[in-house]
C-alpha cells in the first residue's frame, strides 16, 4: 500500500566553487586564477533515499553538511550533478526563513506574489489565502499593509510560515524556521504541522533541535559530510546526531 513519493538514486551534487576566493576580475588576475578559477566542490555524495507517501522524515546534521542542498535538490531548484531525483507528488515551495520576501513590498503583496510564483493564480483563492494567512499569523491587517522591511524577524517568520502552512500541501519541506517565533507561535506551528500530517501530507523537516524532530517525525536521517550516515527511526537518528558533539 505504500506509495513512493520521493526517490533519490545515487544523487551527487557539486557546486561550481570559486577557488581561492576569486570574486572579482582583480582577484582573477592577481591570484593567478586564469588557469582554473573554478573548481567543483562536492556537497552530496551518492545519496540513496526513498520516502513514502505520508511519511514524515526528519533531517539532522551539523551546519554545512548539505541539509538545505538536499531539500533544494528534491524541490527541483538544484539539478543533481549525477544520479536521478524523482518526485511523484506535487511540491510546495521550500519553506525557509524569509525566502522570497520582497522587503519593499507590503505583506499582502508578498503573499500574492509568493502564491503566484508557486502556481496559484486564481484571484478568489488568493483572497481567501490572504484571510487565512492573516488569521494564522495573528498579524493585523494594518501590519500586513506595511512594507515588510518594517517587520521584526519574528513577524517575518510568522508571515513566511503562515503563507505556506495555510494551504494543504502534498509535500511540505521545512528548513529551520521554528527557532524564531515566540513560544505561542511555535506551539501553533507544531499543531498545524500535525494537522497537515494527519491529512496525509509527506513532510521533510530540517531542524537542529532533536526534540522537535522526535515530536513531528517517525523517521530520521543523519547527514555527515554529504552522506547519509544514519537512516532509521527518528529516536535513533537523534541519538546519532547528539553523539556527533561528544
Amino acid at each position: 500500500m505504500k506509495e513512493i513519493a520521493i526517490e533519490l538514486n545515487n544523487v551527487c551534487v557539486s557546486y561550481l566553487h570559486n577557488r581561492r576566493g576569486i570574486y572579482s576580475i582583480k582577484d582573477f588576475v592577481l591570484k593567478g586564477g586564469i588557469f582554473s578559477p573554478f573548481e567543483y566542490k562536492s556537497v552530496l555524495h551518492n545519496i540513496n533515499l526513498t520516502v513514502y507517501k505520508g511519511e514524515s522524515l526528519g533531517i539532522l546534521g551539523r551546519n554545512g553538511e548539505g541539509k538545505s542542498t538536499l531539500l533544494r535538490t528534491i524541490a527541483g531548484i538544484i539539478t543533481p550533478t549525477s544520479g536521478t531525483c524523482k518526485v511523484h507528488i506535487e511540491i510546495s515551495p521550500l519553506l525557509a526563513l524569509g525566502a522570497g520576501l520582497e522587503l519593499e513590498l507590503t505583506g499582502i503583496e508578498n503573499i500574492k506574489i509568493y502564491n503566484a510564483l508557486s502556481g496559484n493564480f486564481n484571484k478568489k483563492t488568493i483572497s481567501s489565502v490572504i484571510d487565512n494567512v492573516a488569521n494564522f499569523s495573528e498579524l493585523s491587517m494594518e501590519q500586513l499593509q506595511m512594507p515588510t522591511k518594517m517587520y521584526s524577524t519574528g513577524m517575518l517568520a510568522r508571515l513566511a510560515f503562515s503563507s505556506v502552512v495555510t494551504s494543504q500541501p502534498d509535500l511540505m519541506m521545512i528548513d529551520e524556521v521554528m527557532a524564531v517565533g515566540d513560544k505561542g507561535f511555535q506551539e501553533k506551528c507544531k499543531k498545524r504541522i500535525h494537522e497537515i500530517k494527519q491529512a496525509g501530507a509527506t513532510i521533510l523537516f530540517v531542524s537542529h533541535n532533536p526534540d522537535e524532530i522526535l515530536e513531528i517525525c517517525e523517521r530520521g536521517i543523519c547527514l555527515e559530510h554529504g552522506k547519509i550516515s544514519y537512516d532509521g527511526t527518528s529516536a535513533e537518528a537523534s541519538k546519532t546526531y547528539l553523539k556527533l558533539f561528544n
Partner: protein, 251 residues
C-alpha cells in the same frame, strides 16, 4: 504547471513595476522626463555646433529615447539574478523568467514614455505617415538585442560582480561613441570605419530612417541589425546555458 509561465511572467512584471515606482511620486512619467531632460541639455549645448543636421531636436530625441531604453535595460538585467537571489534559491521557477520579466518591465515603461514622445515628435515636425509603423518591428528587434546583451551581463555578473561595475563605467563611453548627439559624418573617414562595429550605430540608423527622415528603414542596415541580433542571441544563450547551474552556489 506547463502553461503557467505566462502568469508567472505577469506577476514578476507586476512585482518589478511595483518595486520600481512604488515610492516615486511621478511613477512612469519618469521614463518620459529622463530623456526629455537630456534632450534639453543637448539642444542647448549642441544645436549650434551641429547646425548642419536638419531638425536637430528630433534627431537627438529619436536617438536618445532608444539609448535610455538600452542602457536602462542592460543596467537592470545585469543585476537581475543577484536581486532575485531569494526567489531563485527557494522557488522552482525557470531562472530565465527573471531576466525576461525585467526586460518586459523596461519595455512597458519605455512604451509608456514612447507614446508621449510620439506626440512631441509630431510637434517637432515629424512627418507622420504609414511608414512610422516600421518602428514596431524595430522596437521588437531592438528589445531582443538589448535582452541578449543584458542576459550576457547578468549571467557573468553572478560570478564576477565587477561586470556590473565595469558596465556602469563603460556606459558613458559607449554613449559618446554612439552617434546619438552627433551625426556620423563629422567623424573623420579613417575612424568612422571603426564606428560601424558598434551595433547601436546600425540600430540608430534605421530608427532615424523612420523617426527622423520619416521613410522606410534602409535594407542594408536592417539586415545588419537582424544578423547582429541573431549572433548576440546565440552568444547569450550559450553563456546562459553554461553558467545557469552555477548560479545557486555563487549567489
Amino acid at each position: 504547471m506547463k502553461n503557467t509561465k505566462g502568469y508567472t511572467l505577469y506577476f514578476l512584471v507586476y512585482k518589478n513595476l511595483q518595486l520600481k515606482y512604488k515610492h516615486s511620486l511621478l511613477g512612469f512619467v519618469w521614463s518620459f522626463i529622463h530623456p526629455l531632460f537630456y534632450l534639453l541639455i543637448f539642444n542647448f549645448v549642441f544645436s549650434k555646433a551641429f547646425s548642419e543636421i536638419e531638425n536637430y531636436s528630433l534627431f537627438v530625441l529619436s536617438g536618445l529615447i532608444f539609448w535610455v531604453y538600452f542602457s536602462g535595460s542592460c543596467n537592470q538585467l545585469s543585476q537581475t539574478f543577484i536581486k532575485n537571489t531569494h526567489l531563485i534559491k527557494s522557488l522552482q521557477v525557470k531562472k530565465i523568467l527573471y531576466p525576461i520579466s525585467e526586460q518586459l518591465t523596461e519595455l512597458v515603461s519605455f512604451l509608456a514614455g514612447f507614446i508621449l514622445f510620439i506626440g512631441l515628435m509630431v510637434y517637432l515636425n515629424l512627418n507622420v505617415n504609414i511608414t512610422i509603423l516600421y518602428i514596431i518591428p524595430i522596437i521588437i528587434l531592438f528589445s531582443i538585442f538589448t535582452f541578449s546583451v543584458g542576459l550576457i551581463l547578468g549571467s557573468l555578473n553572478v560570478f564576477f560582480r565587477d561586470i556590473g561595475i565595469l558596465w556602469n563605467t563603460l556606459n558613458p563611453a559607449l554613449f559618446y561613441l554612439t552617434p546619438i548627439a552627433y551625426a556620423i559624418d563629422i567623424i573623420p573617414q579613417e575612424y568612422s570605419f571603426y564606428f560601424k562595429f558598434n551595433p547601436l550605430y546600425h540600430f540608430l540608423y534605421i530608427i532615424r530612417n523612420v523617426l527622423h527622415q520619416g521613410c522606410a528603414p534602409e535594407f542594408y542596415h536592417s539586415l545588419f541589425c537582424l544578423i547582429i541580433t541573431l549572433i548576440t542571441v546565440i552568444i547569450s544563450a550559450y553563456i546562459y546555458k553554461k553558467t545557469k547551474n552555477g548560479f545557486i552556489s555563487n549567489l
